[in-house]
């Protein structure tokens, strides 16, 4: 039986919701990877050296690992035990982005200004 227009629209909507939730979960993993590697790299000896050895520079390494985290997060969204709508996921990413923005600005103000003048 040929599906009618409304069921096709519903299918499009469901597909779009799945895509956006997956991309949001990927973005969340990438944000966590960038923030975690950035802060831990300043305290845990060897992390920056490892990133430099593997990727040529720690900044390139963090970008590459964030890319991998994005792909892993997108895939992981299909395996998570709870189901959330894509609006919830986008809001969750917005809050994380703001939180990590403040965290990194504060972290580099503390680290950078301390290093520059002491």
């Amino acid at each position: 039986m040929k599906p009618d227009a409304s069921s096709s629209l519903e299918q499009n909507h469901a597909n779009a919701e799945r895509w956006v939730a997956a991309a949001a979960c990927g973005a969340l993993f990438a944000l966590w990877a960038i923030t975690a590697f950035t802060i831990s790299g300043e305290f845990v000896g060897g992390i920056k050296g490892w990133l430099r050895a593997v990727f040529g520079h720690h900044w390139v390494g963090k970008g590459a690992l964030a890319g991998i985290a994005f792909l892993l997060g997108s895939g992981a969204s299909y395996l998570l035990p709870f189901q959330r709508g894509d609006t919830w996921w986008v809001r969750f990413v917005v809050w994380h982005t703001v939180l990590f923005l403040i965290l990194l600005l504060g972290f580099f103000a503390w680290m950078g200004l301390g290093n520059a003048y002491h």
Binding site: V20, G26, I34, V90, T97, M111, L113, Y117
Partner: protein
């Protein structure tokens, strides 16, 4: 400065500014109650392509020239915090932008005109907040870049 690095730096700045403007346009389009498709599509495309191009050209300049020729000048000058704080914060905050903008692009690509469907108002508002945060971070990164450039002079 070698013309190649001058080009890489100019591309880094221009692409970053295009991305910043694109994110602002996307935020503007998503915040309105009437569909502004052309603005939304072009704004998001500019933001996504701009941030990835800025990342690539910035990496070439930063890795091959800045570390050897510019960073020591800043650290020995009157404003060492311009590298220790502004550049370090700028380069790491920038890493957020391509991935968060990719989420925005996926949402606009998959939902298309359904974004202005009455049942997707909450999603559209969430995406407007996302585009606003992207534009704000890009603007902060631009300001930090201005501080770094000023410290070299």
């Amino acid at each position: 400065m070698d013309p190649f690095f001058a080009f890489a730096l100019a591309l880094h700045v221009a692409a970053g500014l295009a991305g910043c403007g694109g994110a602002y346009a996307a935020w503007f389009a998503l915040s309105g109650s009437t569909p502004a498709w052309r603005t939304l599509w072009w704004g998001t495309a500019f933001a996504l392509v701009g941030f990835f191009m800025s990342y690539a050209s910035g990496a070439v300049y930063y890795l091959s020239y800045y570390g050897k020729a510019v960073k020591p000048v800043i650290l020995q000058g009157r404003f060492p915090w311009a590298h220790a704080f502004a550049m370090e914060a700028k380069e790491h905050l920038f890493l957020f932008l391509p991935f968060v903008t990719l989420l925005l692009a996926v949402a606009i690509w998959r939902y298309n005109k359904l974004l202005w469907d009455s049942r997707n108002i909450a999603l559209r508002e969430a995406l407007a907040a996302l585009a606003g945060v992207v534009a704000a971070i890009a603007f902060i990164v631009v300001l930090l870049g201005v501080l770094v450039s000023g410290a070299v002079r």
